[in-house]
């Protein structure tokens, strides 16, 4: 899930070249977007497979990434590059970065990641499943990750954790991996974003042929993924954690981002002894505004009151000067974040993966500049009309008899 307050960016200029996805997909090739950056002879290639995990196999996409990653790292290191594998809410993503002169080699590595996986050895299987298990535990181990995961589970029940569930992991252990892969991968789900000193023609040649789908992708069994209840895993924390989120799928995305930024500034001014984060969540599952506050034990009650009334109290403070300053800050953060080819590819690709279109990042960047106080108020109205999800982690209290 993208957190816009943290993960922003794009170039001021639109991509130099982009191919419409549909015509290329019709020929069995991935959708391509190429952003030419001649500053350095380097290229970042981001390949995403826009797919949810098959029902009953939550975590499958990320499991395949764990299986493949050691081999990919070894191959990319030969040209001095590096590779990253991320399972987001929208897509299974691989990014490789290396010299532009190695475009064909790097593209070949990514194409290889699309092949039908062979059944791994026991050690590799257990290692990958162990990594997923660790990630699942980590998500519930600390309060910051826990409250976000719990909010996400309530607002977007279909958006299952990237690391899946224990039951799904057990099924993966005995499943036919080629069959599971056939339900994740199809050529028309693949998008490539290339950023660097490369041309569209060269990238198109490098990805001319990608592996075909290996089956019809139809489910072979009807199994549901069941997420264990969060209440059973409440983490220990030294401060109280108060989290509240509102879903607003139809809200204007740029106005949502500006609203989140303004609300964060407002609450930070009011809650000077608490840590306050306000985040804009945006994936193909929908949009939400999430408020996460960590506060000392003595202030929990007051903080819960402030959070509960945050939208109402904040509304009258919105003005055009503040909106313009927040939008300007967001635009600058986007530019700063995307100053490497890898991050630029990440930004362009994330907007496309969540369904904003291949020029979604550029349109969002432009839209930020046009946000007005009325737009922000409209977003606040949409949020106020939604049923909020709330999560609370109380501060841990040591009983007096256990104190020294």
């Amino acid at each position: 899930m993208l957190t816009l307050s943290l993960a922003l960016a794009l170039a001021a200029a639109p991509p130099d070249t982009a191919r419409a996805a549909q015509p290329v997909r019709a020929q069995g090739a991935p959708a391509l977007t190429v952003h030419n950056q001649p500053a350095l002879p380097v290229v970042a290639l981001r390949m995403s497979i826009v797919a949810d995990d098959p029902p009953g196999y939550a975590g499958a996409g990320h499991f395949f990434q764990h299986l493949l990653l050691p081999g990919l790292e070894e191959q990319v290191a030969r040209v001095g590059g590096h590779v990253q594998a991320i399972r987001g809410s929208d897509a299974v993503v691989y990014t490789v970065v290396g010299p532009a002169s190695e475009l064909d080699y790097l593209a070949g590595i990514l194409r290889g990641a699309l092949r039908v996986p062979t059944q791994p050895g026991t050690a590799a299987m257990l290692q990958s499943l162990g990594a997923l298990s660790d990630e699942r535990a980590t998500e519930r181990e600390t309060a910051p990750a826990y409250v976000r995961a719990a909010l996400r589970g309530r607002l977007f029940p279909a958006d299952l954790p990237a690391a899946g569930t224990d039951d799904a992991a057990a099924r993966l252990q005995t499943a036919s991996l080629p069959d599971v892969w056939a339900r994740v991968y199809a050529p028309d789900r693949v998008s490539i974003v290339a950023v660097g000193d490369v041309s569209l023609d060269a990238v198109e040649r490098a990805f001319r042929s990608i592996p075909p789908a290996s089956g019809d992708g139809a489910p072979t069994e009807a199994v549901d993924d069941t997420l264990p209840a969060f209440e059973a895993d409440t983490p220990q924390a030294t401060r109280g954690w108060i989290a509240q989120a509102w879903r607003a799928d139809s809200a204007d995305a740029a106005a949502m981002s500006v609203t989140a930024r303004l609300l964060r500034s407002y609450l930070r001014r009011r809650m000077t002894r608490s840590n306050v984060e306000v985040e804009h969540w945006w994936t193909h599952h929908g949009q939400a505004l999430a408020l996460v506050v960590a506060t000392p034990d003595s202030l929990v009650r007051a903080a819960r009151g402030t959070v509960g009334g945050a939208l109402t109290a904040f509304r009258p403070t919105v003005n055009d000067d503040g909106v313009r300053a927040a939008a300007r800050a967001l635009r600058r953060e986007m530019l700063f974040y995307s100053r490497t080819p890898e991050r630029m590819a990440e930004l362009l690709g994330e907007f496309a993966d969540r369904g904003a279109g291949r020029d979604g990042a550029q349109r969002y960047y432009a839209a930020l500049d046009a946000v007005t106080q009325d737009d922000v108020r409209r977003v606040l109205d949409q949020l106020a009309a939604a049923e909020p999800a709330t999560v609370f982690v109380p501060p841990q209290r040591i009983p007096p008899e256990q104190r020294r």
């Binding site: 170039a11 001021a12 500053a39 380097v42 290396g98 010299p99 190695e102 490497t340």
Partner: protein, 406 residues
């Protein structure tokens, strides 16, 4: 594909040099227009450091640098600009990154703070307190302890570069506001500085922005006293269960620095953790260049009882490449990797600005970014041959390794 594109690689890098070369008329300002880069990075490299400090004022350069920009930070924050200050032995780097619509204003704010505004006494006091606290916390870390011991061993305890470039908590606490003010007036001058600008800027406009702050003229540089390196391995005691072993090779002005960088990377592969080197907990190699030469430094962390043996392995890891040139196929394979790693070291615009500024400070008027396009097995071998015996430093529990005491 690779063969076709490789000349383009060379061309791109040479183009950077040529652009910077045109800038040489103004001597100390270098601009690299990059139309596709989303931000502008500016590095102001002020050639001030320990050589300019009295021993009892060690750290005054860094204290002055941080103090003088502290009042400017709110203005920079409001512009969305990021500023980092980094003290090296021979210079202080002020690195500014800003959006294209804010870089000129942010640069103006920085340059006025550096070269025009008087230092704010309250800022000095605040910075001194914060810096002394940071240094006190760092003094216990093994990385800092090793750096101190290696600097002493390579340059000599009485050499300006033999003491920590940022000073110590004790020395910084003793520096008064009036000393900082005098130090700034005497040393922080445009004539001792180079500026590199990288990003989506128009070269002429960028020069016009900088002209009021950077009057034309030759770069003024310090002369550094000759070092007095240790003539035997140095053993420094540190309360730990592992031992840090550092080997430093000094090199001169005419050395082939790019070949040395590749050599360091290859040598590192020979001593890093692997199936046959399970006792190497950590390893690192770096090549730093100063006016008049530089250092190749390799560091590994190993069990104390193996420290002496690994010191020998470090010598051999580098010296082995002096015997004969690598076979062409092997060399090409290694070069392929080295080229990628070097390029990715520059993937941030601020890294490119830093590379240009440093190159310019060292007297390269073309401010070349990288120069690996003509590396050969023979150049690699020659670079290895040029290196003499390394200065070895052990940092670890007492009596666990050979060598003298320090």
């Amino acid at each position: 594909m690779g063969a076709r594109i490789f000349p383009a690689v060379a061309a791109a890098l040479l183009a950077a040099s040529a652009l910077a070369g045109r800038a040489a008329a103004q001597e100390r300002v270098f601009v690299r227009p990059e139309p596709g880069t989303p931000v502008v990075a500016v590095q102001v490299l002020v050639g001030v450091g320990p050589v300019d400090e009295a021993p009892e004022q060690a750290g005054i350069s860094y204290l002055a640098a941080r103090s003088v920009v502290e009042p400017a930070r709110p203005a920079l924050d409001s512009l969305g600009a990021h500023l980092d200050v980094d003290q090296r032995r021979d210079a202080i780097a002020f690195t500014l990154t800003a959006a294209p619509d804010a870089w000129a204003e942010a640069t103006r704010v920085l340059m006025l703070a550096l070269f025009r505004d008087p230092v704010d006494s309250a800022a000095v006091v605040r910075t001194r307190t914060a810096l002394a606290r940071e240094l006190a916390a760092r003094e216990a870390s093994p990385a800092d302890a090793l750096e101190r011991e290696v600097s002493k061993a390579v340059y000599g305890a009485d050499h300006p570069w033999g003491r920590p470039a940022v000073g110590t908590a004790t020395s910084v606490r003793a520096i008064r506001v009036s000393m900082v003010d005098a130090f700034l007036r005497q040393n922080f001058t445009p004539e001792r500085s180079v500026v590199a600008v990288v990003g989506p800027v128009d070269e002429t406009e960028a020069r016009e922005e900088l002209a009021p702050h950077m009057p034309a003229g030759e770069l003024h540089t310090d002369s550094v006293p000759p070092p007095a390196p240790a003539d035997a391995p140095v053993e420094a005691e540190y309360n730990s269960i592992t031992t840090w072993v550092s080997a430093t090779w000094r090199f001169g002005t005419d050395s082939d620095v790019e070949a040395l960088r590749m050599l360091a990377q290859l040598a590192l592969d020979r001593v890093s953790f692997g199936p046959s080197r399970r006792s190497v907990y950590n390893s690192r190699a770096e090549v730093v260049q100063y006016a008049g030469g530089g250092e190749v430094r390799m560091t590994i962390v190993v069990p104390p009882r193996e420290a002496e043996q690994w010191a020998g392995q470090l010598r051999e890891a580098v010296g082995g490449y002096a015997a004969e040139p690598l076979p062409p196929a092997v060399f090409q394979e290694r070069l392929r990797r080295f080229r990628g790693e070097r390029l990715l070291e520059l993937d941030l615009p601020e890294q490119r600005a830093a590379a240009m500024a440093r190159s310019a400070l060292l007297g390269d008027r073309t401010a070349t970014l990288v120069d690996f396009t003509r590396l050969t097995p023979q150049r690699l071998q020659a670079a290895a041959r040029d290196l003499e015996n390394p200065i070895i430093v052990f940092l670890g529990p007492a009596g666990s390794q050979g060598g003298g005491t320090h």
